[in-house]
């Protein structure tokens, strides 16, 4: 009984969370999706490395760091474009996007250099 009630609680909790999240603006959802996509790609590479060993270690690092870096940058973008963050109220989302693009380009230049 207790178990079913706790699972029911959990279901309720998730449902509440999901409904709360559904209220999020679409552009933030896109960014969230993008972050998840990047992290999953990184995860697959980590699994690959765990399976076959880390021989071209620089390649592995650049692959994972590319994903993680992109994810971090995307999180930063999400913080800046979120209207509820009063801190960045004066910052235009376009400006934040420009920063995001620039940082990504610099990050990937380094990644490519490191890729081998």
């Amino acid at each position: 009984m207790a178990r079913s009630s706790s699972s029911k609680d959990a279901q309720d909790l998730f449902r509440a969370l999901w409904s709360a999240y559904a209220a999020t603006p679409t552009n933030l959802k896109i960014i969230d999706l993008y972050v998840i996509y990047a992290l999953f790609t990184a995860l697959i590479q980590v699994v690959y490395m765990a399976l076959v060993g880390s021989f071209p270690f620089n390649s592995f690092l650049s692959g994972v760091l590319s994903c993680v870096g992109t994810a971090v940058l995307a999180v930063c973008l999400r913080i800046q474009v979120n209207k509820e963050n009063k801190e960045f109220k004066d910052l235009a989302p376009e400006r934040a996007f420009a920063d995001f693009v620039l940082c990504n380009l610099v990050l990937h230049l380094v990644i490519m250099n490191f890729l081998g």
């Binding site: 959802k29 998840i36 590479q45 693009v101 490519m112």
Partner: protein, 734 residues
């Protein structure tokens, strides 16, 4: 050892040639260079650390040094000539040299080249070739007697006569006159006589110098001995071509020139004479052999056409023959020709004919009791006129004043053509002796025709078996002097002793050497060698005290030299000498040495000497060690994961669709839309550039391109983003 002895005669001639070639420049004597060779061999033998080899080399060298009188031309020359002149000639000059050598040496089975060579001769005589070619073509024709068109020869003769008058250099005149002389000999119907012989004679004579040498041309101040030979031959040609007799006083002047030329002859201490160029440079330097043969050619041909004798000393002519024979067998065709032709000219010349005294063997063995033979030949090896050989005296090379034989005439063996000393005096013991021979011609008038060279000194090695006796080996205590072990050895019976000693004892070894005549004998070498099991060896010279040879090894003083190495040492005795027929290297036995432990400061044991020949052996193969390649996963697995990485991207796209993303915000008006598209393309371009950077570009090229693209991107990015920003603010404010 025997092999080396057998080889040494041939090697000696090679060595002599080398020596001659070097001494023609450095004026070195033969003896020092032989000594040098000896030391080189000693050094080598020492490296091989083989005393037996050293002994053999010593014998070979000492006997090699004895052959000071070169023999006449022999069959060795004939076989060498067949090897050198193999029938392929690049020019008629070479062909002539080969044919002339075959003719002189009377070689029967020579390569048949007459057909091809005659074709060349006819071709050259039929065309207007240079004088030098004509000269050699005519020379070849003189030997081969090719069928040459008579009219062509007449043409050539008239052309050559004109050339003689026009010639300004000695070489041109030499070839033209030489060719005319050859035509005179070959075609008697052609008129070759020089009308202005006196003038030609004068113009050649005008090039002569006060010292008997000649200049090549009037505008060349350098005088040359080689040119003198050419000039004399040309003058001889002029005399034989003269239509009227040449003024005798002029001929006498040239004879004087020849005498002066012979004053500048070079010589060695052993009575060898030769000519050499005094200057180097300007012209191509002629070696002493070609210079000498040029002079010989000139003088003999001049002597042949003039009446009266040229008073050249016989010993100089003999010295020239010695020089030419001393070369041995040259390895170069030109040298070979020069040597053989000059010898042939000396063989039959009008000045004086050298007779060569040679010994088939300069070693006389007391044990074999053979006879000492002397041969007298002309330089080409033909029989000499009737003569007797007298042994004037013989003396030991250490005691010059004490003659052992005096004034003894050698018996002539008619059948073999050799002079034999039938009874070798009994009082001659082993050692090196100097025998002095003299040639006495039966016909006293022959002394003007032949050059015998007076007294000839020949070193003779008298060898015999040396008796080894009273061989004793003993070990005794240092301080007390009491003998611990004493053994007598019979070296002939291959006795073998085993001794033992410690560092407080001494080893004493003694023996006696006696000659067949019972005298004490002192060999060149007497060594004792101690060889440890580890191959470390120590050599001691056995000293000579009066009659006895003895050595005392005090081990106390030798411990350091022996590097405190205890254990078994093999003892070997080496006794050797050039006149000792039974030189030996014999193991005597072994001694077990008990030496003290090495103190800490003692010298370390040196590494064993490396065999010098081992450096020519193959080196150990080098195995290269490469880094093992890293383990790579199977390709399928990698490809699977590659496709797996696409899955999140698909998930991302699906998610976007579910969210209902659209491009409605994309600007609709022309200018911002263009900027938007350009902005997207710019980013794509930068990413493409990154891929290229990964694949092939380097960082600098990439950064340059990124710089340009970045500026462009900044511009369009700014335009589109500020447009979007202004639209959104308008929306908000609205």
């Amino acid at each position: 050892m025997l092999l080396i002895l057998a080889l040494n005669k041939r090697t000696c001639s090679r060595v002599a040639l080398k020596t001659l070639l070097t001494r023609s420049r450095s004026r070195r004597r033969r003896l020092p260079s032989a000594t040098l060779l000896f030391f080189m061999l000693l050094l080598r033998a020492g490296m091989a650390s083989n005393l037996g080899g050293l002994l053999a080399l010593l014998l070979a060298v000492s006997i090699c040094g004895a052959v000071t009188i070169p023999g006449p031309i022999s069959d060795a020359h004939r076989s060498a000539a067949l090897e050198l002149f193999d029938g392929s000639f690049s020019s008629l000059e070479e062909a002539y040299e080969a044919l002339r050598v075959f003719e002189i040496l009377a070689i029967g089975n020579k390569p048949d080249v007459s057909a091809t060579t005659c074709n060349k001769v006819v071709e050259i005589l039929g065309s207007s070739s240079p004088v030098k070619d004509l000269f050699y073509a005519l020379k070849v024709n003189g030997i081969l007697k090719c069928k040459v068109n008579g009219d062509a020869v007449k043409d050539i003769a008239s052309r050559l006569k004109a050339a003689v008058n026009d010639a300004s250099t000695l070489v041109d005149m030499y070839y033209s006159i030489g060719s005319l002389v050859l035509i005179k000999d070959q075609a008697s119907d052609v008129d070759v006589l020089l009308t202005d012989a006196d003038g030609t004679f004068h113009s050649i004579k005008a090039l002569s110098q006060s010292d008997g040498r000649w200049r090549y041309s009037s505008d060349n101040p350098e005088s040359s001995t080689y040119a003198a030979g050419l000039a004399l031959e040309a003058l001889a040609g002029v005399i034989s071509l003269a239509s009227s007799e040449i003024d005798q006083s002029r001929v006498n002047k040239v004879k004087n020139d020849i005498l002066k030329l012979f004053d500048s002859i070079e010589k060695y201490d052993d009575g060898t004479f030769y000519f050499d160029e005094k200057f180097v440079g300007g012209r191509e330097h002629e070696g002493s052999l070609s210079t000498t043969s040029s002079v010989v050619r000139g003088v003999t041909s001049f002597a042949a056409v003039t009446s009266g004798k040229i008073n050249l000393p016989g010993d100089k002519i003999l010295g020239l023959a010695k020089f030419l024979l001393g070369i041995g067998i040259p390895g170069d065709a030109k040298d070979f020709f020069n040597q053989v032709e000059s010898l042939a000219l000396l063989e039959n010349n009008r000045v004086s004919i050298p007779l060569v005294l040679s010994l088939p063997a300069t070693v006389y063995s007391l044990s074999k009791k053979d006879q000492l033979k002397v041969r007298v030949n002309t330089v080409l090896g033909s029989a000499a006129p009737p003569l007797a050989v007298k042994l004037v005296r013989a003396f030991h090379s250490d005691a010059k004043d004490l003659s052992i034989i005096e004034s003894k005439e050698l018996q002539y063996d008619q059948n073999n053509g050799i002079h034999v000393l039938e009874v070798f005096p009994d009082n001659v013991d082993v050692g090196t002796y100097m025998f002095v021979f003299e040639i006495i011609l039966h016909d006293s008038s022959g002394e003007k025709v032949y050059a015998t060279g007076g007294q000839v000194h020949v070193p003779i090695y008298v060898t015999g078996i040396i008796k080894v006796s009273n061989t004793e080996i003993a070990v005794f205590d240092s301080d007390l002097g009491s003998v611990e072990t004493q053994k007598t050895l019979d070296l002939a019976g291959n006795d073998f002793v085993s001794l033992s000693a410690n560092h407080l004892q001494k080893l004493h070894f003694s023996f006696q050497l006696t000659t067949p005549h019972g005298h004490a004998f002192k060999p060149h070498q007497a060594f004792v060698k101690l060889k440890h099991e580890t191959k470390h060896e120590h050599i001691f010279v056995v000293g000579n005290t009066g009659k006895k040879f003895e050595i005392i090894l005090d081990f106390l003083g030798l411990v350091e030299k022996f590097y405190y190495l205890s254990g078994r040492y093999d003892i070997e005795l080496t006794v050797g000498d050039a006149v000792m027929e039974n030189s030996f290297l014999q193991p005597l036995g072994q001694v077990d040495l008990d030496l003290p432990e090495a103190p800490e400061k003692a010298a370390r044991l040196p590494p064993l000497p490396v065999d010098p020949y081992s450096r020519y052996e193959a080196k150990a193969e080098i195995a290269h060690l490469f880094r093992a390649p890293e383990k790579r996963p199977p390709q399928e697995l990698s490809l699977t994961f590659l496709s797996l990485t696409i899955l999140p991207f698909i998930g991302f796209l699906v998610g976007l669709l579910r969210l209902g993303v659209n491009l409605k915000n994309f600007p609709s008006s022309a200018a911002p839309a263009t900027y938007a598209i350009l902005f997207q393309f710019g980013i794509a371009a930068v990413l493409l550039l990154y891929v290229l950077f990964w694949l092939k570009l380097d960082l600098f090229t990439t950064l340059k391109a990124v710089g340009f693209l970045g500026v462009f991107l900044m511009f369009v990015g700014h335009r589109i983003l500020s447009h979007l920003a202004s639209t959104s603010t308008k929306l908000k404010s609205a």
